[in-house]
């Protein structure tokens, strides 16, 4: 039986500005690693901010904003090995960029163009899961399947606070626990599921409490502290890789942006709280940490930002340069071995299109 640890109720923090405590260091993170983390966060932030602009310019479709979620995504990502798998929700749509996926691929996905398809094996990044929590069993199955094959790879699955109300979350978490799957269940608790606040989602005192019911360790971290997210995920991954099974991480943050470009949160959200949270947004917090440590200075920060801006600018140019998708792609990939009717359907479609 797995040992059940009491849920770690106090939020774990490394960056010392939130509670008056000083900055901590994380073992094994030198200057280079810290700057890599920062580069990842800046790339994600730049991608996200530009995507909102591209949406307003009509260059991408509806877009799920992840502003102030970069610490969770980059922190968890850097705790993984290259062989480990990532199962993103739409909130982590761009996490593949950290594995070298071209920005044009993700932008194409949001442009509704088939160039946004990718092979999950190329990046160990599963397809973006649009419905809520239904990818949790996929991650459990992959992690279990890797373990059965004697491979060392783990998986991390990202989902939000609302997802913990879904049956698929429950079934996936329970499957992972029962099979001892090397999985990290990373819950981005930003307190809002579109307009539904956390207190309307659950009567549990904390989401990490749910871990107890699955017989797995659960812990809570400050979701805007990238180093706390990194450290907690690294511990969970180490436990998973050595046969300790899954871990539930509740990363607590606050949604400071609309759910998506189609949403106007002024109808429901606490705007004063949003303004407060924006002041301690995660990229700025980490930047402060790095500056206090003497690792980051203005010139370096500017060059990292411009590198990210160049990458995203090139990405949207590449995405827009994609030729229109041929209607053949309607039929091309639904089956490895398509029914014969697809051929006549395509012929008829081409005739009517002229």
């Amino acid at each position: 039986m797995a040992q059940v640890l009491p849920a770690e109720r106090d939020l774990r923090r490394v960056i010392g500005d939130a509670d008056g405590a000083g900055d901590r260091e994380v073992d094994g993170l030198g200057e280079q690693e810290l700057l890599e983390l920062y580069r990842s966060m800046v790339l994600l932030r730049t991608y996200d901010e530009r995507s909102v602009v591209y949406h307003r310019q009509g260059r991408i479709g509806t877009y799920a904003i992840f502003w102030n979620h970069e610490a969770m995504q980059a922190g968890a990502f850097h705790a993984l090995e290259d062989e480990d798998w990532i199962f993103p929700s739409y909130r982590e749509s761009a996490i593949g960029l950290l594995r070298g996926m071209p920005p044009a691929t993700v932008l194409s996905w949001w442009r509704g163009h088939p160039a946004g398809w990718w092979n999950p094996e190329d990046y160990r990044v599963a397809s973006i899961c649009v419905p809520i929590a239904t990818h949790v069993p996929h991650a459990a199955g992959l992690a279990w399947g890797k373990k059965l094959k004697g491979e060392t790879a783990c998986a991390v699955v990202f989902f939000g606070d609302g997802a913990t109300s879904e049956g698929a979350f429950h079934e996936g978490a329970n499957f992972a626990a029962v099979t001892g799957a090397p999985l990290v269940l990373f819950c981005n608790n930003n307190h809002w599921a579109i307009s539904t606040p956390l207190e309307a989602q659950t009567r549990a005192e904390t989401l990490a409490d749910k871990a107890v019911g699955y017989g797995m360790p659960g812990l809570r971290v400050d979701g805007t502290d990238v180093l706390a997210c990194y450290e907690a995920t690294r511990e969970a991954v180490a436990r998973a890789r050595t046969g300790g099974g899954p871990t539930f991480i509740e990363a607590v943050s606050y949604r400071t942006a609309p759910h998506a470009t189609a949403d106007d949160p002024r109808a429901y959200i606490d705007l004063a709280r949003v303004e407060e949270e924006k002041k301690r947004e995660c990229v700025g917090r980490f930047e402060g940490y790095l500056r206090r440590a003497g690792i980051l200075h203005d010139d370096l920060a500017a060059s990292i930002r411009s590198e990210a801006a160049d990458a995203v600018r090139a990405g949207i140019a590449d995405a827009e340069a994609e030729p229109p998708a041929d209607v053949e792609l309607l039929f091309a990939h639904a089956y490895a071995d398509p029914p014969v009717s697809f051929g006549s359907d395509l012929d008829e479609l081409r005739r009517t299109l002229g």
């Binding site: 798998w85 088939p114 398809w117 990718w118 092979n119 999950p120 094996e121 190329d122 599963a126 397809s127 419905p131 239904t134 990818h135 949790v136 069993p137 996929h138 991650a139 459990a140 199955g141 992959l142 992690a143 279990w144 399947g145 890797k146 059965l148 094959k149 491979e151 998986a155 049956g167 698929a168 079934e171 996936g172 329970n174 499957f175 029962v178 099979t179 091309a332 990939h333 639904a334 089956y335 490895a336 071995d337 029914p339 014969v340 009717s341």
Partner: protein, 323 residues
């Protein structure tokens, strides 16, 4: 050749396919220790180990959802749903992911999984042990659906499903699991998906059916003195052997389609629509459906009245011949 029941033939297919391909694994409720509530997976856990015949938690969406991940890890999972109507929780995964994931990867990743379940009524069981849910599955893009009616096809179609690169749902006629015996080739035996079986050759009328309705049609054919009845066992609902359907319609000019599921939007409606579109000038009368009714499957004391019977089928044939 061995004379086996349908459930024995399924068990035989499992033993052959798990031996042949070490990436095939069976997951489901009670499939391991018990060997399945119908014993379709008997002996697999002992022979291949508990990892390759795995007793899962009681969670149908979790079974199919984890099967998606198992495919990503290189396995070929065969998921047992304990009963037809207990499969409904897995429809979420089937519709939102199983049928779409390959497409979502631009065809780069395959999901060679199988969902199999006993289906259909007539077994005097409690509510929700009797459904014919094939339409839900057939209507879902990206999956294939097979429904065997004989022991040989039960083995061969399951083997084909396991070897297929696409997700396949196999519905097995539980009414005949043990009562219907037939010759089954020993060792490897594959019946290709997408080919109908001419169960009986005839010239006056074609009875089209699949699964547990095939024996009903054969009995109706026996009962129709002086009428030359062809019985076409569709076997694979998707991909459909349209050629065989149209050839038989052209040959006899009269078609009765028999389906156990409720009538509206059932698979018989699809077959009738194909005949209307492509065989209208070959037909000497209307395409007639004999189906279950548009009601919840009834409690078993009155279930016989729900099931398409030999009498209802022969009456439909007489009506068509008199048209």
């Amino acid at each position: 050749m061995a004379e086996l029941s349908i459930v024995e033939a399924i068990n035989d297919a499992f033993h052959v396919e798990l031996e042949r391909d070490p990436s095939v694994m069976v997951i489901g409720e009670d499939v391991g220790r018990a060997g399945g509530v119908f014993r379709a997976t008997a002996g697999l856990r002992d022979r291949f180990g508990p990892d390759r015949c795995f007793d899962t938690p009681l969670a149908e969406a979790g079974i199919l959802g984890s099967a998606v991940g198992l495919c990503m890890a290189g396995w070929r999972p065969v998921c047992e749903m304990q009963y037809d109507a207990f499969s409904y929780p897995c429809l979420d995964q089937l519709i939102t992911h199983v049928g779409r994931y390959r497409w979502r990867t631009g065809g780069k990743m395959s999901f060679p999984l199988v969902v199999r379940m006993p289906y259909g009524g007539g077994v005097r069981a409690p509510e929700l042990h009797d459904d014919s849910p094939e339409t839900y599955y057939v209507h879902t893009p990206g999956v294939k659906v097979a429904v065997p009616s004989t022991p040989g096809d039960a083995k061969g179609l399951l083997a084909a499903a396991i070897r297929d690169p696409d997700p396949v749902v196999v519905l097995e006629p539980k009414l005949h699991y043990r009562t219907l015996k037939g010759d089954v080739p020993e060792g490897e035996h594959v019946v290709p998906l997408g080919r109908a079986r001419l169960a009986r050759d005839g010239t006056d009328v074609t009875l089209v059916a699949y699964g547990s309705m095939v024996p009903v049609c054969e009995a109706a054919a026996d009962a129709l003195d002086g009428v030359s009845v062809e019985v076409l066992d569709i076997r694979t609902l998707k991909p459909l052997d349209e050629e065989a359907l149209l050839a038989s319609a052209a040959k006899t000019g009269r078609v009765v389609i028999v389906q156990e599921a409720p009538r509206t939007c059932g698979f018989a409606a699809e077959l009738a629509a194909i005949l209307a579109e492509k065989a209208i000038l070959e037909l000497r009368g209307p395409v007639i459906r004999v189906t279950g009714y548009d009601v919840p499957y009834p409690y078993w004391q009155i279930e016989d009245a729900y099931m398409p019977s030999v009498e209802r089928v022969t009456a439909a044939v007489r009506r068509l011949l008199d048209f």
